[in-house]
């Protein structure tokens, strides 16, 4: 058996992603050491489970993610809690 530790990521939302929450941010739980690609997969699941009737289906693929340095980050970027 393998124990997986999880971390909680806080995403600040812009544009249509604001439809995912009534707040400015969204909390997502991911396995530790996850990267942006895993975050995209997690967002896809959230959208298909909760927002299947919305037009957000393409969001996980088209969204850009910014680091705290305001740079667009690539899919291999490791997330930290």
């Amino acid at each position: 058996m393998v124990d997986i530790d999880f971390m909680e990521i806080q995403l600040k939302l812009y544009g249509s992603s604001k439809l995912l929450s009534d707040k400015e941010t969204l909390l997502i739980e991911l396995p530790e050491n996850s990267n942006i690609e895993q975050l995209r997969n997690s967002l896809s699941k959230i959208i298909s489970n909760k927002y299947s009737k919305s037009n957000l289906g393409n969001l996980p693929k088209s969204a850009a993610f910014f680091s705290k340095n305001n740079e667009v980050i690539n899919d291999n970027y490791k997330l930290k809690e």
Binding site: Y14, G15, S16, K18, L19, N58, K61, S62, A63, A64, F66, N70, E71, V72, N74, D75
Partner: protein, 152 residues
């Protein structure tokens, strides 16, 4: 100072073409080109009442400065450039973007103005939500800032 860039919260302040003209004026320049973008009352057959612009402020300013410096390096290093974009709710008829360029000659002034407009559309993290008559509203897809080759 030859470059001014800003995101303007329209609820607090208006984008002013007079301010832009004053900023770009120089007796070294023989040409001025000014582009004013406004919110129009129709899009895709729908009657628009206004647009809300959402922005990642720090990344927008970073992109504005990078785009304007690229434009100067490409066309005219001595150009004076004023670039402001609205943030928040902008009613129909109001200014959403203003680009003003003072350059040595008309060709450079036109080219810099067009270059900045197109690059802002493609590079700057600004999102639009349209508001329609009847109360409906919709976020527009716009250009993805994720590099295109990664979108499958």
């Amino acid at each position: 100072m030859s470059l001014h860039t800003a995101l303007v919260k329209i609820e607090e302040q208006k984008i002013s073409s007079e301010k832009a003209k004053r900023f770009i004026y120089s007796d070294k320049n023989g040409a001025e080109s000014i582009f004013v973008g406004r919110v129009r009352n129709e899009n895709d057959g729908k009657k628009v009442t206004g647009v809300t612009y959402d922005a990642h402020d720090q990344a927008v300013i970073k992109s504005f400065q990078s785009i304007c410096n690229d434009a100067k390096n490409k066309f005219d290093k001595n150009a004076k450039i004023f670039l402001e974009h609205a943030k928040g709710y902008v009613p129909v008829g109001e200014i959403s973007i203003l680009i003003a360029v003072g350059a040595g000659h008309r060709d450079e002034a036109f080219k810099i103005c067009r270059y900045i407009l197109e690059e802002v559309k493609h590079q700057s993290p600004i999102w639009k939500k349209e508001h329609y008559t009847g109360g409906k509203e919709e976020w527009l897809p716009g250009h993805s800032l994720r590099p295109q080759e990664k979108i499958k």
